[in-house]
């Protein structure tokens, strides 16, 4: 089981990094989403894996519980990552609609233009 989780995290990370190294906004967003999954599972795994031991207290029986703390951290991380994804989606969308270009890299010409606007 551990090997499955570890390899899944590794593959998600690799795919995510490959995609954030692309040069258009959309693959970068996809890559960030994949990395988000990988990071969340990674954080979750710091509590170690356990089956049938949810951290919900049982009043009647003495049973084992898995580590609740990483779960609480990951829960908020999932929600926050939605916020982050939404913001970058809006930024890339606005950038594309304003410039009709979805490249993420500034070109040398862009730098010159930006300097011109500053002056």
């Amino acid at each position: 089981m551990e090997a499955l989780v570890a390899s899944a995290v590794g593959i998600l990370t690799a795919a995510g990094i490959f995609l954030i190294l692309r040069r258009r906004t959309f693959p970068v967003i996809l890559g960030l989403s994949l990395i988000t999954y990988a990071v969340n599972v990674f954080l979750f795994a710091t509590g170690r894996l356990a089956l049938n031991a949810p951290p919900v207290l049982n009043k009647y029986k003495d049973v084992a519980y898995t580590d609740p703390l990483p779960q609480a951290l990951v829960l908020t991380a999932i929600v926050i990552s939605f916020g982050m994804t939404a913001v970058i989606v809006m930024i890339s969308l606005s950038a594309y609609l304003s410039s009709k270009d979805d490249h993420i890299d500034m070109t040398a010409q862009d730098s010159v233009d930006a300097a011109g606007e500053d002056a």
Binding site: T13, F42, P55, P68, L69, I80, S98
Partner: protein
């Protein structure tokens, strides 16, 4: 009055002039004056204890781990400086009221002035060097505002920038020096540091610390070669110059040297650095001052010269020189402030400060003439004025000083400086007031109203009185101050009197005075020689350095930060991988201590789906719609995996977030190109693939190694499990952690989420207000649109499901404390319920029925969460402490209430509002006119008469 209050009063009072200026200039000035007066009174009630030699302290541990304590102390030295700052501050406030014209924003002026005053008082009362640094930097900033007060004058702006650059960079050096000093002693408290002279001077870090601290003091006190900022700061209004350059800003450096005197002085390094710098500055300032035609520039360089004098005295390192230094600080403050104010009056009344255009004012402005002359003669060092006394002491000290075995160098140069000093003082009097009356003053001069000359007149009275009877008037004060400076050791013998007999100092004074008169007589010729000499222009050099630094930093920024995001990403990833490899190759990872869980068939199938989908995304990422579908598969498997691995809360959260994320991405894909074109070369793709594979392998190996080992340290989770029910009143530990144990984190997180949603809203607003809107309106969709954009089946189904979905949301919310669920998940579920209406019935239809704004929902969520947390304060508990209990209302079952539920309500509202605001903003991109005419549901009994009735009508 507590020292805290004395230091805080000017800062608190700084608000009032800015506000009261609406009530008139007198109100603003009175507010400023009253504040200063109160602080002064607070200081004066400490006179008895200070005069006894006690040290008044006020201590407050601010950040004890850093050694940063808000400790204040008041000893003789601090008292003298605080007295100067507040008394002269009061006089300046009076003077400025009449000096500034109607057009100048006076409220602003007094606010800046009080901020500056507060910072200065803070410096001189600090008992902690870190606190002192904070106030030190504040003086740099507030003096920047004061010097640049006349924003419309380019000179003012340049002068302010220069002052800030020079004193600010000196301040940075001083921070480093202070940190070294604190490290040597092991404490940042001055009272401790001052007890450790031997330890500090024996340390190998003594010299670096000394040089760095002196850099701070020299830049602030305008010592050579940093003297150039001071004359340029004269572009400020005269009250500012009078305040900053007589009693305060430039004296801060002297104060620091005097403060650190007990532990830093007495070494050769101290003598040669400080005394030499002071000597050069004294001479250089005096010579340049003689040839300045601008009245304020003359005074500025004379200030530089006198600061050099005091620095030199402190640099001598003897106790008697310290007495002279302290005495001269008092005297200089009195006569120099009076002189600056006189210069301001002359400028105000004649319209010029140019000595070449002045002269003969003694009959036109007799009061000003009297004040200016007495102050100037004191500066020249003539008896029986106070300047004479301290100058005599200075000359006397130089005679006893040898510099590199030379007995004549120091007294000789000091005499020369005193000679020039006398010359420019005489020039001040003679070229402004004496000589023939002229016809060509820019305006007709006469004495100003009493408000303008009262302040300098009071100072001049002091000049005379101190001169006549110094022992009685300032003797005790000097004794107390000096004993504070020399670290409580026995005072040396000295006497403050006019006549000491025929001493070398007396002869030197006579030579200086006569020489000064002689130089004045030769001034015309001397000026020609001076103007013919090549002189380095400090401002040009300074600007060249600044330009070079600007170009360098711009170059570095451009090289490092060239806007190519994919380059940043690859550097970041490669660096992280490198760090990981370094950690792996240098550390030990220990042995596996856990037994792996067996992999059953279903998880293996899930794994295959996940890996297949992930590889599919990589392979087909150019087809954007397909990759979205595949990423949905990944999210689904992840949430199922959470559920399988005993994390039901995570599974619920993941799957609901997955739904909203997919809707968001699909909506955005509507406006983006549907295909990603081929951009990168094959070589680049291979490089990226190689880096990703290495990073993926590393991450996978890391997480595997971690999962196969037990915790290195005992976890705190045991505490959470043990106390969740007892302390938090809930059995779902994850939820109790979120709303109770780590409620503050959650509070921060809902705020972050709310901010993210507001950013999205703001972006949408700004983008839609540009020509993007017209583009969107005329846009052709990527795909053929369906004939029925709001299919009946879907409309009906979502409306039927709406109450059910809300019910599920409520259920999930209420069970959250004890069973999987809670505010986060409930917020997402209810958001999905609303989004279904948007999708099925259309944006326009949905917002027509929207009763509340999502901004408000976010705000209420955060407020409710905060109010719940604050509620704990009323029970004298820390923020966010929760409480719970049980209620039994027949015929209901006994049920539990917990304040954490209220907090969770805040979380619920914030999440709901944030998700809705984000998606609502995105939906606005799709808005088209005419959408409102569509009827999402064709059968609406209220809209028009039902078909049956129409048929009946037809039949009738």
């Amino acid at each position: 009055m507590s020292l805290f209050l004395i230091a805080a009063l000017p800062f608190l009072g700084a608000v009032f002039p800015a506000l009261l200026i609406r009530a008139g200039r007198n109100a603003a000035a009175s507010a400023a004056g009253l504040t200063t007066f109160l602080a002064l009174m607070g200081l004066l009630i400490h006179i008895p204890s200070v005069m006894r030699g006690d040290v008044v302290t006020a201590r407050f541990d601010w950040i004890p781990r850093l050694g940063l304590n808000a400790n204040f102390m008041l000893d003789g030295l601090g008292f003298l400086f605080a007295l100067l700052i507040l008394v002269i501050g009061l006089l300046i406030i009076l003077y400025a009221r009449f000096y500034l014209s109607r057009e100048d924003p006076m409220g602003q002026f007094y606010t800046y002035l009080l901020l500056f005053q507060g910072a200065m008082v803070g410096i001189v009362l600090s008992d902690n060097i870190l606190l002192l640094i904070v106030f030190w930097e504040l003086t740099s900033l507030s003096s920047f505002l004061l010097i640049g007060y006349w924003k419309h004058l380019p000179d003012g702006r340049q002068g302010a920038r220069m002052a800030l650059a020079v004193t600010g960079s000196g301040g940075l050096a001083m921070i480093a020096g202070m940190l070294i000093l604190g490290n040597i002693v092991g404490s940042y408290d001055l009272s401790v540091i001052l007890q450790n002279k031997a330890l500090i001077q024996a340390s190998p870090y003594y010299l670096p610390a000394l040089i760095l601290i002196l850099l701070g003091a020299f830049t602030k006190s305008a010592q050579f070669p940093f003297h150039f900022w001071l004359p340029h700061a004269m572009a400020a209004p005269t009250p500012v110059s009078a305040y900053l350059h007589s009693a305060t800003m430039v004296k801060a450096g002297l104060f620091l040297m005097a403060r650190m005197w007990p532990v830093l002085a007495g070494t050769d390094a101290w003598f040669y650095i400080v005394a030499t710098t002071g000597l050069i500055t004294m001479l250089l300032g005096a010579v340049i001052a003689l040839f300045k035609d601008d009245l304020k520039a003359l005074l500025a360089f004379s200030t530089v010269s006198h600061l050099g004098l005091i620095t030199m005295l402190l640099g001598f390192g003897t106790k008697i020189a310290a007495v002279a230094a302290i005495f001269h600080i008092i005297n200089h403050a009195t006569f120099k402030a009076a002189l600056f104010m006189t210069a301001g009056i002359v400028d105000h009344e004649t319209g010029t400060r140019n000595l070449k255009r002045l002269g003969g004012l003694r009959h036109l402005m007799p009061i000003t003439f009297t004040i200016g002359t007495i102050a100037a003669l004191s500066m020249a060092g003539l008896p029986p004025l106070n300047g004479f006394l301290s100058k005599e002491m200075m000359l006397e000290e130089t005679v006893h000083t040898t510099w590199l075995h030379s007995h004549y160098l120091v007294p000789g140069l000091a005499l020369l400086a005193a000679l020039f000093s006398a010359a420019y003082s005489f020039r001040f009097v003679s070229h402004v007031f004496l000589g023939a009356q002229r016809e060509d003053y820019p305006t007709h001069p006469h004495d100003p109203p009493v408000g303008l000359w009262l302040a300098p007149a009071l100072l001049v009275v002091l000049v005379v009185l101190i001169g006549l009877n110094s022992a009685a008037l300032v003797g005790p004060l000097i004794a107390v101050v000096t004993s504070a400076v020399i670290g409580g050791e026995k005072l040396p013998y000295y006497s403050l009197k006019l006549w000491h007999g025929f001493t070398p100092a007396l002869y030197m004074s006579v030579v200086a005075t006569l020489g000064g008169l002689f130089l004045l007589a030769l001034h015309k010729r001397g000026e020609q020689v001076w103007n013919a000499l090549p002189r380095p222009e400090a401002k040009v050099i300074f600007e060249a350095i600044i330009d070079a630094l600007t170009r360098l930093s711009r170059w570095i920024t451009d090289e490092m930060h060239n806007g190519v995001l994919s380059r940043y990403a690859i550097i970041f990833v490669a660096f992280t991988v490198g760090l990981g490899y370094y950690a792996y190759s240098t550390g030990t990872i220990g042995v596996e201590t856990r037994v792996p869980l067996p992999a059953q068939i279903i998880p293996i199938i899930g794994w295959i789906c996940l890996v297949g989908a992930t590889l599919g995304i990589m392979w087909f990422h150019r087809n954007r719609l397909l990759s979205l579908v595949l990423i949905g598969v990944v999210g689904l498997i992840v949430s199922v995996a959470f559920n399988y691995l005993s994390a039901p809360d995570l599974a619920l959260t993941q799957i609901s977030v997955e739904v909203v994320t997919m809707i968001l991405l699909l909506l955005s894909l509507n406006f983006l190109p549907t295909e990603t074109p081929w951009d990168s070369s094959a070589a680049r793709r291979w490089r990226d693939a190689a880096i990703s594979v290495i990073a993926g392998l590393g991450t996978g190996a890391l997480v595997y190694a971690m999962m196969m080992r037990d915790f290195a340290f005992p976890t705190i989770s045991e505490f959470h499990l043990a106390n969740s029910y007892k302390g938090g009143g809930g059995t779902n530990v994850v939820n109790v952690i979120l709303v109770d144990f780590r409620g503050f984190d959650t509070f921060g997180e809902i705020i972050v989420l709310g901010i993210a949603a507001l950013i999205i809203f703001a972006l949408t607003e700004s983008v839609l207000s540009t020509n993007v809107r017209s583009y969107l309106l005329n846009r052709k969709p990527h795909w053929p649109q369906s004939g029925d954009s709001h299919p009946l089946m879907m409309v009906v189904a979502t409306r039927v499901m709406m109450p059910i979905a809300l019910m599920v949301g409520a259920y999930i919310f209420f069970r959250g404390h004890n069973q999987p669920g809670g505010g986060f998940i409930a917020g997402l579920i209810v958001a999905i319920a609303y989004l279904m209406q948007y999708m099925a019935s259309g944006y326009t239809w949905a917002i027509e029925r929207q009763r509340f704004y999502y901004h408000g929902t976010i705000g209420w969520g955060v407020l409710i969460a905060a109010a719940t947390g604050l509620g704990a304060w009323f029970n004298e508990r820390p923020f966010l402490t929760s409480d719970f209990g049980y209620l039994h209302w027949p015929p209901l079952e006994e049920f539990e209430w917990a304040t954490a539920m209220l907090f969770d309500t805040g979380v619920f509202l914030a999440v709901l509002g944030a998700v809705m605001l984000a998606l609502d903003s995105l939906s606005r991109f799709a808005w088209q006119p005419g959408m409102a005419q569509e009827f999402p549901m064709d059968i609406n009994p209220l809209r028009d008469s039902p078909p049956e009735q129409e048929q009946e009508k037809e039949q009738a």
